[in-house]
């Protein structure tokens, strides 16, 4: 129990110590009775009930919805300033602050108490993540599930059954996605042996530059000839009057003057010099005469290796005219044989080198899909030189041949050059001075060729869903084959259903229904395989597939069957169904043995599929959805480009995965002497000696602010809006995620502080205003000091020692003279806790509270594993997991083992 919570817990123990159900009480501390009596009950009592509110009989124990609502009313009335009324004596500020602090926390506790499921685990359907994983395990393909509700973001984990609903619309989505998955799986299987490779020599792009230069040079010469001819005509004495008039019309702008060539007697048509355009041919001629980027393109052609490859340039022309800033290549539609390239596993490969002409930071190439709109999927460090270029390989899954053009368009480009047009413009402006020609940018990266290879997968074991089908059945739905014997269809459907239902037998009547569907489709003219898929899609929309059921008519808690235990275990660690080994141990009953269960837990954790637990727990526990709330302001934070953001996001996932893999202590998330980074992130953090795209453990010096979550750029980013920091967000995040002391949710109806708008204040001065009003102070006195202690990290996690505030006008433009710069003072004190002088001491203070953090992790993992919210009745369960984990210095895997071995995990 957190020491701040004004809650008294009374646990009544049942006879069976394992199945102890608790009862707990939330009480508002009795000391606040005085305040209620002195300021409220005169008007709200048995005789006088102003506003029909009576408070003298209000119970200080909050144990039902009615009492909770009465207290909520008090909280609302005080927060909004409605009570006490203006003509009554106001509450003393400090007493009010403390009252609100305790009441807000009591309400959180009461809501938690009232939502307590007392250990009951509701049957639940697969959440979106598990549904996707399960289809992958069953059919061997990745499917898009974005049409389904995400199931996260309700404040609980996505495994909590009571929040996982079903609707008619969703049922139809399941049918449709199931069909899509079967289509893809059948197609992959049919093309299992197909091996294809396609190479693009990038000197093709260099050739386009050469062609463009040739055209530009010629057009410039023609345009100049035309201009001379126009000028000659304009100079004729008989034209003097009309020319003077026209020149005046266009304010002597020569370009615009030439646009009026038709009115100048004797001036030749641009068309006769080869310039045609829709509106005014002169526009084309004028533009050609400027040929602004010609020197840059000529400079490109002067580079030594344009005949064998291409240099990644900063985009100068519109991409429809010339694009040498990107290597775009299409995953081919058609094959010489006339068949489009099938879905499956691919490798994208390219040969590249550093030219030596770029600054050291310019050594990264981005890879992505859809060059016009998509964000990079990965970023790759280039170390090869022009003498010894290097080959980089990127594994890539191409789901379906049906993909649209945008999803087949792959690209490579220099990192951080084309995230946004403003970024491209800024880079051009910044780099032109370094160029002798006064424009463009040096070329840092050279590419020789790119290759797409489809990897055959004949030797891959058949996914269990396909293995369940009778091997004589034809899977090609274009093949006109005689319908197979119905027995073969029947046994296929039965085996498939049993596989999909995680070992449960379907009833004959259910199979009859599937057969009926199959035959109806055949009668309607469908080919055999198409009809089969229709029936199989029904299996994938049936409750035995969609729900993780642990049926029993027993009303009292009872042990799970070993099969149910196997399902719980594999969905906990893999988010997907048990594999053959686990199922066999379940069938034989061996899994019941604690040592077998422990060994299986370890085996599952060692399997790459355990990234599902690591990633989705990190995402949900740390609230990483916030990373996508804001666009980073790239003009203010130019170094934090999209690929850096990608690497920063991955740092969190990789660190969590590292803890699981190496069984490190979770305390390393609070403070550690190492970071888990790759070359791209090392570049951002300015840590030397890290080369390559793999994330690895790198030791940091003792005085480094990095090491632990608080030093991660992605965490800083979440505590702001991509432009400025938000000490309130950061403080609340630390309380919620690291100290397991969540502040109550932002209350409704609090009067906001308007008087500070337009004033030039430091962040601290602005925040101090929070502390004036009791409604604000009751929470912000805990939140703000922590947030202020993290102010040395800017909005994108770069270290800083000063900060600036600029007042902005209605158009978002800075107001001149309304600006203030100050030294950041991170010193402060945790509310009723230790003092700290700077960020490093704050980190130590938080590190000291590792027990609180471990408790938060334990509660999170329990909720995640059991699929129900952790209530007060779980105090004992939580305490035992924490103490077991503590025996091994809170090592990550110990939490998992302790939960799996706990009776709560093995009981329904």
């Amino acid at each position: 129990m957190n020491r701040h919570l004004p809650v008294i817990l009374l646990l009544f123990f049942l006879i069976n110590p394992c199945l102890r159900a608790g009862t707990s009480l939330v009480t508002m501390p009795a000391k606040h009775k005085a305040l209620l009596e002195s300021h409220c009950t005169q008007c709200h009592n048995a005789d006088k009930q102003k506003g029909r509110v009576r408070l003298d009989d209000l119970s200080f124990t909050i144990d039902d919805v009615v009492t909770a609502e009465r207290w909520q009313k008090i909280l609302d009335a005080l927060n909004s300033g409605e009570m006490p009324p203006d003509d009554e004596e106001p509450l003393p500020n400090e007493a009010k602050t403390n009252f609100l602090d305790d009441l807000a926390h009591s309400m959180v506790a009461a809501r938690k108490l009232l939502a307590d499921q007392k250990g009951a685990i509701t049957m639940r359907r697969l959440n979106r993540r598990e549904y996707k994983n399960t289809l992958r395990e069953l059919l061997g393909v990745e499917v898009m599930v974005t049409d389904l509700p995400s199931d996260s973001g309700s404040g609980n984990f996505d495994t909590v059954g009571s929040n996982l609903f079903m609707s008619a619309n969703q049922f139809e989505q399941y049918l449709s996605i199931g069909r899509e998955a079967l289509d893809t799986a059948f197609a992959w299987e049919l093309s299992a042996a197909e091996e294809r490779i396609w190479r693009y020599e990038t000197e093709e792009i260099s050739k386009k530059v050469a062609e463009h230069v040739e055209w530009q040079t010629d057009a410039k010469a023609r345009a100049e000839k035309w201009i001379k001819a126009v000028e000659k005509a304009a100079a004729r004495p008989e034209n003097a009057e009309i020319v003077a008039k026209l020149r005046k019309e266009v304010n002597n702008n020569e370009n615009n003057f030439r646009r009026l060539w038709e009115q100048i007697p004797g001036a030749p048509a641009p068309a006769s010099f080869g310039f045609k355009s829709i509106e005014n041919d002169a526009d084309k001629a004028n533009a050609a005469s400027r040929a602004y980027w010609l020197p840059y393109h000529q400079y490109y052609l002067e580079q030594p290796a344009t005949d064998t490859g291409m240099y990644l340039a900063i985009p100068a022309e519109h991409p429809s005219v010339l694009d040498n800033g990107t290597v775009s290549f299409l995953l081919p539609w058609s094959h010489p044989a006339g068949v489009s390239w099938p879905g499956g596993n691919y490798i994208v490969r390219f040969r590249a080198a550093l030219t030596g002409d770029g600054t050291p930071d310019r050594r990264f190439i981005e890879f992505g899909v859809n060059p016009r709109g998509g964000q990079a999927l990965s970023v790759h460090e280039v170390t090869g030189t022009m003498d010894a270029p290097q080959i980089i390989e990127i594994p890539f899954t191409f789901p379906s041949k049906k993909a649209e053009r945008a999803d087949r368009s792959l690209y490579l480009r220099e990192k951080g050059t084309q995230d946004h047009y403003l970024q491209t413009r800024r880079i051009k402006n910044e780099s032109k001075d370094e160029m002798e020609i006064g424009m463009g940018r040096t070329f840092a990266l050279w590419i020789d060729w790119v290759e797409i290879e489809r990897v055959p997968h004949e030797d891959r074991p058949k996914p269990p869903g396909l293995a369940a089908l009778d091997s004589t059945l034809v899977l090609d739905d274009k093949a006109k084959v005689p319908a197979p014997p119905i027995e073969a269809v029947r046994s296929s459907l039965t085996h498939f259903a049993k596989e999909a239902f995680r070992g449960k037998e379907p009833t004959p009547k259910f199979i009859d229904g599937l057969i009926n569907k199959y035959q109806t489709r055949i009668k309607a003219g469908d080919h055999h395989a198409a009809a089969l898929k229709e029936s199989l899609a029904i299996v994938l929309s049936s409750p035995m597939f969609l729900y993780l059921a642990e049926p029993s008519l027993e009303t009292k808690p009872h042990p799970l069957s070993t099969t149910e235990l196997a399902v719980r275990l594999s969905y906990f660690i893999w988010g997907s169904p048990p594999d053959m080994e686990l199922r066999k141990l379940a069938e034989s009953g061996e899994l019941k043995k604690p040592e077998v269960l422990a060994a299986q837990t370890t085996r599952l954790l060692n399997d790459p599929r355990s990234r599902d637990l690591s990633d989705s727990f990190a995402y949900q526990y740390l609230g990483l959805d916030r990373l996508d709330f804001f666009q980073v302001n790239l003009e203010k934070h130019p170094r934090f480009d999209n690929s850096t953001k990608l690497a920063a996001r991955n740092e969190i996932y990789e660190t969590m995965a590292w803890l699981f893999r190496d069984n490190e202590s979770v305390r390393h998330l609070l403070k550690s002497d190492y970071v888990i980074i790759n070359g791209a992130l090392a570049e951002y953090y300015r840590i030397r000696g890290v080369v390559g795209d793999q994330f690895r453990r790198v030791k940091v010096p003792a005085d480094s602010p990095r090491g632990g979550l608080l030093g991660m750029a992605a965490v800083s980013l979440m505590g702001g809006n991509g432009e400025e920091t938000s000490p309130v967000e950061r403080g609340a995040w630390v309380l919620r995620k690291l100290l397991n002391d969540p502040p109550p949710p932002a209350p409704a109806n609090i009067p906001q502080i308007a008087r500070l708008s337009g004033q030039v204040l430091t962040t601290e001065e602005r925040l101090t205003a929070h502390q004036e009003e009791a409604q604000c102070a009751s929470c912000h006195r805990r939140i703000d000091p922590i947030g202020m202690g993290l102010e040395n990290f800017d909005a994108v996690g770069a270290w800083r020692t000063e900060d600036t505030y600029i007042v902005k006008d209605d158009n978002g433009k800075p107001v001149k003279g309304k600006e203030k710069t100050w030294q950041i003072d991170p010193s402060g004190q945790l509310y009723k806790g230790p003092k700290f002088e700077n960020y490093f001491e704050l980190r130590d203070v938080i590190d000291q509270k590792v027990d609180d953090f471990a408790k938060g992790i334990a509660e999170g993992l329990i909720e995640y594993a059991l699929g129900r919210p952790v209530g007060f009745s779980d105090e004992d369960l939580v305490a035992s997991i924490v103490s077991e984990a503590k025996e091994e210095d809170f090592s990550m895997r110990k939490f998992v083992h302790a939960i799996v071995q706990n009776p709560a995990f093995q009981t329904k």
Partner: protein, 428 residues
Amino acid sequence: MKTRRHILKSSTAMIALPALESLGFRRFASAAAAAAPPKRLVFLGFGWGVTDETWFPDIKTPGPDYELPVGLKPLGRHKKDFSVVQGLWNKYSVEGHAGSTWWLSGANKFAQPGQTMHNSISADQVAAEQLGVNTRFSSIQLDDSSGKSGGHGPGLSLAWDRNGKPVAAFNDPVKAYHRLFSSDETPIDVQKARLAEERSVLDTVLENAKSLQRGLGKDDNEKLNEYFQSIRDIETRLSKEEKWIGVSRPDAPIDEPRSGLQGKEEIRLMYDILIAAFQTDSTRVITYRQPGGQTLLDSIGINVHEHDMSHYITTKGEKLAASQKRDLTQSELLAGLIDKLKATKEADGSRLFDNVALAYGSNIRTGHHLTNCPTILTGGGAGVKLGENIVVPHNTPLCNAWLTMLHGVGVEAERHGDSTGVLKQIIA
């Protein structure tokens, strides 16, 4: 369902049809000799609140002679035809970021012990149960296509069914258009066979559900009930489809919309679809959870984050300006909708406007404030008093207004949500 190939037929007739003489009226002409146009109900919810200082009329000038505040100026030409109601709220609402979840239900999030989230039926669905019997769609829900529910809170639309479960919406104007107006040209017996086939799919999964149910305890059974309910909902829809087999979909009074529009243009489009749906009597109840946050701001060129905008009060500057520009855009759009409601003629010569009851607003006033929920009522369908700044006692249940509107359009309901009675002040 997308199993069978539908041959989509979409009309591109530009000229507004002689409204309501199409499908709906021919179909029911025999039932009533001189059919009065049906009553329709619309709720438009925009999630985040409005600018406190510049959206609300002065509460000291109640009645018809009030001055339109800046944020409502674009509605000036309709001043006599809408009312602003002030003082309403949902007393149980405590979520400062959920302007839509409980807006039409007035439910208490915490009402259900053992649950972290509770809701109950929304007013539109109460109406749909009675007004939706004779139309192809009992109700239509429209939603923000971006799928980002900024400011709206949990839910799939403004609508929640009788079990307090979210009701799905069309969130793509193009899809909505085709569902409403693209006829299924397949022969009737083929359509009937298709329905039979869909029913047999439902029978098959129900068989599976029943065998799963046999072993389940009480709580699990309740969970599985959601599945049964989903299947029942589809069955209801199929029965309705069956009734409508052979009745071709009405010609669309509007062009097929362009796809990919977001924010302001999407709202305009959805408003057109709303009118078209009423014109063709495809439904009589429509809700629209319209983009009020980031997608709207992006579409009008405002570079401020939605949540920052909603908390404009502490810094003002460009955030206040963004909030006000958002208000103006929303008011312009609403004014455009009212124009079209007035311009659309019914079969009996009256205006569509006269037969529609429309409520427009949010559960959030501004910032995290949940009192005096912004509320505009318009249309003549429910006998609501128009043209006034109606100030009701502070903290009057919003559900009283919904109950009054329900009664106004002829829906029988004793109470709704936390209503304490009808709101006499808004009755003409």
